[in-house]
Amino acid sequence: MGQNGESFETLIEGYADRRVNRRQFFARAAALGISASAAASVLATAGPVAAALAAPTLKRGGTLIEGYDRDFAKMDTVLTTWDDPTMVALYEFTVIRDAQGKFVPDLFASWKVSKNLLTWTFKLRPGLTFHSGAPVTAEEVAANFNAFRNPKVGQNAIFWPSVKGVKAQGPTTVVVTMSTPFTAFPETLATEAAMIQNLATRKAKPKAYGVSVVDGTGPFTLTSYQPGIKVEVKRWDKYPGSGVPYVKNKKTAYLDGVRWVPILEVGQRANELESGSVMAVKNPAPQDVDRLKSNPDIVVVEFPSLAGYWISPNHQAKNLGFDDLRVRQAMSHAIDRPGLVKALFFGHAAADYGPIAPNWKWYDKRVEQYNQYDPAKAKSLLDAAGWKVGSDGVRAKNGNKLSWTHIGDAGQPDTAGIDVAVAAMLKKVGMDMQVKALPAAQWGSTVTGKTPPASWGFEWLWSSPMDLLVFFYAYPSDKYNGALPAVKAAVKAWQTAPSDAKLKVAAQAMQVAWAQLLPKVPIVTRNDVYAFNKKVMGYQPLQSMLYPLYNDVWINA
């Protein structure tokens, strides 16, 4: 008990009601004998809770203006390879993750798996419609699944390898049959790439679909999409309500609409939030996070992200020795990950020694025995591989200089600095990586071009990190990544695991194989930071999800 008879619970309540500010909270928590880290972990969840608890009277109306740290991709779930916040406003998942990462109902009210693990039966919520008014039938959902898994049509068919057939049984039952057990199936379903859309509309308007026309089931409808400038959605007045257990608002959205603006100048996000140009931002610049946390008008929620940055060396570039594990390991050992976390991200990031960040439920600590910062080891590995330092400090072997052009993505301004910093670190061990940042449009065609670059850098973001590895072990091509048998075996094990326990084993095998063999070199994962004005209520980001669900959000103006 504290001096005024205060308990930790009353203190949290005080914080939630905003009688106690953040600094006071820590001071009083310390007085109660609670460690700062324990207090902080409570706060991480108390922040959004506070927003909900402090709600005096709920108000409808208003437009939420939110700054986004990226540009917007096409909003077509069959073709998407990118998750934007617009998706959760326009579409709905069949199955969704809750705060703990457990799978709970969304469009599917329930499901069960047969004893032999080969038949999945899903029950659709009845009475659902698309924005256009067309009914959402089991038939339609099955057609969506079949589009996703068809490699000629769906961009993400690679995630559906074990699915043998999808069929509708009556109006609300979808039956999926597998060729092998596929316990990770809900992982795939709970991503933006498996959200349900009206295929008839998509077929009728092939050019406009996903850009000016969207026909989903989400609480908002699309009004405007201008890449680099904005995306606007407005409330769908015929929304039948959400089936997600933890969404409190079971009716139409409180907000009139949401307007997202890409703010690609990282330092401007905090500025725009504080000056009121926007009401919420995803990922203010790391150097501004602490400042925002001390601003009493701003709520900040931060947790490690389901993302990562890697540098992808072309294993076909034999003249650079990238097919030689020692060269890739040297590259990895030359990178001072903790230094990057501290200098470029002001501590708001995690060093990645394996392909997935340490926060993930099945993270395997064994990856940390690889890829530690060790320039001396990097040099000796290169020496052993036959790369000798030349007069200009750049290594060479058989007349080939260890010098190449690295393609960075200028469309990812938050992580663009990593390439520059890594290049300077590699230079110290005699590797001459020349960074060339290309605009997003050009980056894609260069990386998938006929002569792919010697290396490229990229930040990925996906709510199912293992699926992401499944995708990227073969992107841009299997040969580019060395076609490593151990990695392939891990992918196979993941996609045929008969139980959660086996999933975990496969996931960990994958991480260790990746850390050891380096098909791509993992670098860092920056934290997800959501900052919003305290007038924005019900804005609840979850660590297991990339974006908050906008149906609960309202503005206390």
């Binding site: 100048e265 400042r291 470029l344 960074v435 060339k436 290309l438």
Partner: protein, 303 residues
Amino acid sequence: MAIPEPTAFVDVGAESDERPLRDAFALLLANRVAFLGGLLTIAFLGVGVLGAVILATPGLQHLYLDQDFSATLAHPGHAGHLLGTDQYGRDLLWRTVAGTGISLLVGVAATSATLVLGLTLGCIAGYFGGIIDRLVSGLIDLTWGFPLLLVAVIYAGMLEPGITAVVLAIGTVVWAGFARIVRAQVRSLREREFIEAARALGTPAPKIILRHLVPNVMGTVLVMASYYVAIAVITEAGFSFIGLGAQPPTPSLGQMIADGRNYFSVSIWPATVPGVMIALIVLALNSLGDGLRDIFDPRLRRF
């Protein structure tokens, strides 16, 4: 990108005075602002050449590329960094020097193209007159008055983002304004006795142009050259600022400002140092140009 100076469109009083350059230098000394501008310009040239050498010498690139994670966003004077460091702990002084090198290279490349094109076409049109003059004047009218940035952005769309687009844009657009001035001057020079005499003696046209006309417009060349370098510097910086110009890690001054402003709340130096540098360069070149104009253009010197 700067708005062309009044001289660029008010037809310069075409009187040519054959005052020797020595007198000009004396006058420059007498004009305080212009003198200061001249000194600063010399300093800019010195720093720019140093920067260009550093950029071109692999063994020296470490000066602006070396990062030090223990001294990021340091204030001036910290740990031997005279002007502080950026977010990578790279030395701002050396980066600014290298950035000035880029500015100078762009300035020289773009201005040379402008002057050569403008002088050649302006002299030809002014001297020959007739159909040639009509053709060249038509070309001038076609190109003149285009906003540099618009042209540069279109070029950036055609090529990859980079400083080439800026240089090309300046080369495409700015020459016309210069050719227009040269043409007007040459037209009035043509009627002067010494040219008529040369023509009467049967001197070939190229020789007359090179021997008699070009030296007489050198004053204008000097004046406009200083303005054009300023225009090039500021256009490149603005273009790099919106991300279409020089790409990292090449330290363009404009891109340094764009990068540095993200850290304003931590340290003002990474954006301010290159910003002040650009302002100084442009001020220096403008003052020098003004001073030179006062000397070479008596009509405007009265004010």
